[in-house]
Symmetry: C2
Subunit: 212 residues, 2 copies
């Protein structure tokens, strides 16, 4: 892709997702959901600072804002990196395999690209979990008029986390048995998935409580 | 907003979400998640047609593709309409209320704008449910190499549906008791929410099964 994903218009980005070209795909969409979640957290912090509920919580709110800015930037970057990494896998698989030497070179290249294409969605899942944590902190203290935005942020962070996890899981069986990332990534994704439904439920209950 | 949301770059759109300006907010982000979901459904259809699994399913796949195109376009439009509708509420609330006549005019205008700002996320939730239905059809017959993309599509559709529902729910108490939309929207959102967790679980189980 000549143009950076993040420089495409929203409409063109969605149109690129829709084509038969698998790049960009679900990994980039998951990261973009996480980036929107971070942005909504940031917005709610802005709508809360200076209001009565912010009193005594200024430090927490400002730390939350700083973290949201960092995650937003990282997740937009990961959407881009995911597309690049998957593109590299596709190109590596197209390398010639007519001779033994070519086959060896190709499989080394495919393995290296698959490692990167797995590492990126692990980072996306981790970042989305970080954004979910910010929404968790914000749910009880955010501006009540924007509590639905905290809820949407959490929903998007959860979708980003689980979506990135699917992208790790589809790659893992293709990593070689002695590739350390195979066990590491599997363990980290399992750890993140093991708590996400409970975190999701707790947060949405807190949002629903404040919506009443 | 002078420029259409969908014409903004992805990065600028996310930056606009993050500002203290509540527009665009969670309603637009929810619709955008739904649009990405529709686009991923479309991509998986393209990656499936012409493959062995498509045999005998061509009609279903082509109907799914046609519906995905329609929902994608509608959801991008709803992201825009949501921002406009909420902007109109904010402007209506700023109308002067110094005289009885002004107060009457203002409350009529606020009520009309709130009705629209509620109608839009109802349409978003309905569209996201439609996209989820497409992912449900695609899960057993889509290209297995892209089954993670069906999973991400479903996660984003669910986040879009639930996120839009939160935007309806935060507005409902502000609609007047005798406004028919109040009961109608409440009923439709309850109906959509009543099945979404079960649909989500069933689909993710089907995806996990095919990921093995």
């Amino acid at each position: 892709m000549e143009q950076r994903l993040s420089e495409l218009s929203v409409r063109t980005f969605v149109e690129h997702l829709a084509t038969s070209d698998p790049i960009p795909g679900g990994g980039s969409a998951a990261a973009m959901a996480g980036a929107m979640a971070a942005a909504l957290v940031h917005m709610v912090v802005e709508l809360t600072l200076g209001r009565p509920l912010a009193e005594g919580n200024e430090d927490a709110l400002m730390l939350t804002r700083r973290a949201a800015v960092a995650w937003q930037s990282e997740l937009i970057n990961l959407a881009e990196l995911d597309a690049n990494a998957y593109g590299a896998v596709v190109r590596a698989r197209q390398l010639p395999r007519d001779t033994d030497r070519q086959r060896d070179a190709r499989s080394i290249q495919v393995a290296a690209c698959l490692r990167e294409a797995t590492r990126i969605p692990v980072a996306t899942a981790r970042a989305a979990s970080g954004v979910l944590e910010l929404a968790e902190r914000l749910a009880p203290i955010g501006n009540r008029n924007a509590v639905s935005d905290v809820g949407v942020a959490a929903l998007l962070a959860v979708a980003g986390l689980k979506g990135a996890a699917l992208n790790v899981q589809i790659n893992l069986p293709h990593l070689s048995e002695d590739e350390p990332l195979r066990a590491e990534a599997g363990t980290e994704i399992e750890r993140l998935l093991s708590t996400v439904d409970e975190r999701d439920r707790t947060l949405q209950d807190a949002v629903a409580e404040r919506l009443r």
